[in-house]
C-alpha cells in the first residue's frame, strides 16, 4: 500500500487534482467521521464509565466489562444469540442450496417459483413478523386452527419457552432464504456444463453429480454466504422486538435486544456500551474471516 502511495506522489498528482479529489470525497469523509468513527471511539470511552442518562458520569475503568462477565442475563442473551445463529444459519444455507438446485434447470413454472420464494425478501421484516405473529396466535391463530382440524392441539408458539426461539428462527429463515438461494443459483450457473456432461457419461446419479461436481465448485460461495448470514443473525433485533419482546422469561432475549433494553429502558449507557463492544468484537472476527475467505476465493478463480 505504501508503495502505491509514493508512486501516486511521484506520478505528480497536480495541485488541482489534489484539491478536486479531496473535495469530491469530503462530504462522505466528514459524515463518516462525525457519525461513525467519532461515535465508535466515544462509545468505547462511555463503556469505561458509569454513565446514567440523567446525572453525572464517573470513570470506572474496565468495571463494566468485569460486571458483564458475571451477569447472568448477559450470558443468557449471548447464548440465545448463538443458539439463534446456530439454528438459523445451517437451516437457511441448506434450504437455500436445496431450492437453488431444484430451480437450477428450466421447467414449467420455474419463474413463478423463483419469484414466489424471493417475495418475502422484498417484504418488510416488521410486516412479515407481524403477520406471522397473527398466524401463530394461540387459540384462534390460523396455524393452530389448521392443526385442530387434524386433531392436534397447537401450543402457544410464541409464549412457551421450548417453541419461541425455534419459531422465530423458522420465520426468519423463510424471510431471507430467497436471497441466499439467488446467490447459490448464480454460483451454480457458473459451473461449466462440460463437467456435468462428463459425469453423465460416467453414469452419475443426480445426487452424485451434486456432491461431486456442484458442491465442490460452489464451496467458496457457501462459505461466504454462511459468514454473511451469521453476521446478520448475530444482529437480530426487529423480529424479536415484534414477535416476543425477548420473552417468555428471557428465552428469546438476544444481545442487541439486551443492549437496547439496557440503554433505552434502564438508561445505563455505560454498561450498554460495554455490551455493544462485545457484539462489535464478535462481528469484527466474522468480518475478518470473510476477508480471508474472499482472498481464497479470488485465488480459486485464477
Amino acid at each position: 500500500m505504501l508503495r502505491h502511495l509514493t508512486k501516486g506522489k511521484k506520478l505528480g498528482s497536480k495541485w488541482s487534482d489534489n484539491i478536486a479529489g479531496w473535495l469530491f470525497v469530503s462530504p462522505m469523509l466528514i459524515g463518516f467521521t462525525l457519525f461513525m468513527f467519532g461515535p465508535l471511539l466515544y462509545a468505547f470511552f462511555i463503556s469505561l464509565n458509569d454513565w446514567p442518562l440523567l446525572g453525572d458520569e464517573t470513570f470506572i475503568g474496565i468495571k463494566n466489562y468485569e460486571t458483564l462477565a458475571h451477569d447472568p442475563i448477559f450470558i443468557k442473551s449471548l447464548v440465545n444469540t448463538l443458539l439463534f445463529s446456530l439454528g438459523l444459519v445451517p437451516f437457511n444455507i441448506i434450504l437455500a442450496i436445496f431450492l437453488a438446485s431444484l430451480l437450477k434447470n428450466k421447467f414449467f413454472g420455474i419463474g413463478l417459483f423463483r419469484t414466489a420464494i424471493f417475495v418475502p425478501v422484498v417484504t418488510s421484516l416488521i410486516v412479515w413478523s407481524i403477520v406471522w405473529k397473527y398466524l401463530l396466535a394461540t387459540e384462534l391463530g390460523f396455524i393452530n386452527q389448521m392443526l385442530a382440524l387434524i386433531g392436534i392441539e397447537g401450543p402457544s408458539w410464541l409464549l412457551s419457552i421450548p417453541t419461541a426461539l425455534p419459531v422465530v428462527i423458522f420465520v426468519s429463515v423463510l424471510k431471507n432464504v430467497g436471497l441466499n438461494m439467488i446467490l447459490f443459483l448464480t454460483a451454480m450457473q457458473q459451473v461449466p456444463a462440460e463437467l456435468y456432461e462428463a459425469s453423465e457419461l460416467d453414469g452419475a446419479s443426480n445426487f452424485r453429480k451434486f456432491r461431486s461436481v456442484t458442491l465442490p465448485l460452489i464451496t467458496p460461495t457457501v462459505f461466504l454466504t454462511m459468514i454473511i448470514t451469521t453476521i446478520g443473525a448475530m444482529k437480530v433485533f426487529g423480529q424479536i422486538y415484534v414477535m416476543t419482546r425477548g420473552g417468555p422469561v428471557d428465552s428469546t432475549k438476544v444481545l442487541v435486544y439486551y443492549i437496547w433494553e439496557t440503554a433505552f429502558k434502564h438508561f445505563d449507557m455505560g454498561y450498554a456500551s460495554a455490551l455493544a463492544f462485545v457484539l462489535f468484537f464478535i462481528l469484527l472476527a466474522f468480518t475478518i474471516l470473510s476477508w480471508i475467505v474472499r482472498k481464497r476465493w479470488v485465488f480459486y478463480e485464477e
Binding site: 502511495l5 479529489g21 424471493f118
Partner: protein, 272 residues
C-alpha cells in the same frame, strides 16, 4: 422429462415451500378485507369489507407515518446516490494524496455496526436537540452502512468505464466536476439504479434508528408505527392487516415490474 415421479415430487416440495412464502401474505390481504368479528373465523372474507382500508387511510397518524417513510427513504437514497458517486468517482479516477488510506478508512465503515454507535449518537443528538426530529434518520443511514456500500459500488463501476470517454472531455478543458456530472454520472445509470433499490429498501425497513430517535406518533416511520399498532389495539387485526397490506403493496408492485434490477440490488448489498 426423464423421470416423471421425481418431477412430481419436485413440484410438491416446491408448492409446499412457496405456500409458506406466499401464504402469509395472502392471509394478510384476506384478513384486511374481513369484518372485525370474523378475522379469525373466516378463510375468505365474506362479505368483503373495503371500509377497513377507508378507515385506515382516514387515520391521519397512519398517513403521516406513511409519508414519513416515503420521504425519508427517498431523501436518504438521493443523498447516498450523490455523495457516494462523487466519492466513488474520485477514488476511481482522480489521483490525490492519501487516496488509498481514505478509501480503506471508508471501507472499514462497513464493519462498524449501528448497534455500537447508537448510544453515543443518541447522546450527541440529544445535546443538539435533535431527538424526535427526522434529521438523525436522514443523516445516520446516509453516512453509515448505506453510504459506505454506495462508495464501494460506485468506485467499482467507475473503474470499469473506459478512460477514453473522459480524456476527450478533459482535452476540451472540462473541469473534473463537469466530467463527473456530464459524462460519468449519465454513464453510471445501471449502477445508480442498483444502488437506489438497495438503499431505498434498506431504509424503508430501518427499525433501530426510528425506534430510538422518535417518540411522537406523528413523526414515526411505518415499521415503528406498525409495530406499536399490535400493542395497543391487539384485537383490531382487520385494521392492522389493511395497514400492513398498504405498506407492502407498493414494494411488491415495483418488484414485479423491475424484478431483475431488484434482485441485483438486493444481492449486491448482501455480497458487498
Amino acid at each position: 422429462m426423464r423421470n416423471k415421479g421425481s418431477n412430481l415430487f419436485k413440484y410438491i416440495i416446491l408448492l409446499i415451500i412457496t405456500s409458506l412464502m406466499i401464504g402469509p401474505l395472502l392471509w394478510m390481504i384476506s384478513t384486511s378485507l374481513k369484518e372485525p368479528a370474523k378475522t379469525f373465523t373466516q378463510f375468505f372474507p365474506n362479505p368483503i369489507r373495503w371500509a377497513n382500508y377507508a378507515e385506515v387511510l382516514g387515520n391521519s397518524t397512519f398517513l403521516k407515518q406513511y409519508w414519513n417513510s416515503i420521504y425519508i427513504s427517498i431523501l436518504v437514497t438521493l443523498l447516498v446516490l450523490l455523495f457516494s458517486s462523487m466519492a466513488g468517482y474520485a477514488f476511481a479516477r482522480i489521483k490525490f494524496i492519501g487516496r488509498n488510506v481514505i478509501f480503506l478508512l471508508l471501507l472499514s465503515v462497513m464493519m462498524i455496526p449501528a448497534e455500537v454507535t447508537i448510544i453515543p449518537l443518541f447522546l450527541f443528538m440529544r445535546e443538539l436537540g435533535l431527538i424526535n426530529t427526522h434529521l438523525p434518520l436522514i443523516l445516520l443511514p446516509t453516512f453509515g452502512a448505506s453510504g459506505a456500500f454506495g462508495v464501494f459500488l460506485m468506485r467499482q463501476f467507475f473503474i470499469m468505464i473506459p478512460k477514453e470517454l473522459e480524456e476527450a472531455a478533459i482535452m476540451d478543458g472540462c473541469s473534473k466536476f463537469k466530467v463527473y456530472w456530464r459524462i460519468m454520472l449519465p454513464l453510471s445509470v445501471p449502477a445508480l439504479s442498483t444502488l437506489t433499490i438497495f438503499t431505498f429498501l434498506a431504509n424503508w425497513d430501518e427499525f433501530l434508528y426510528p425506534l430510538i430517535f422518535i417518540n411522537s406518533r406523528e413523526l414515526m416511520t411505518l415499521p415503528i408505527g406498525l409495530s406499536l399498532f399490535t400493542d395497543e389495539t391487539g384485537t383490531a387485526w382487520h385494521h392492522l392487516m389493511s395497514a400492513t397490506t398498504l405498506a407492502t403493496i407498493p414494494l411488491l408492485i415495483i418488484f414485479f415490474f423491475a424484478q431483475k434490477k431488484f434482485i441485483e440490488g438486493m444481492t449486491a448489498g448482501s455480497i458487498k
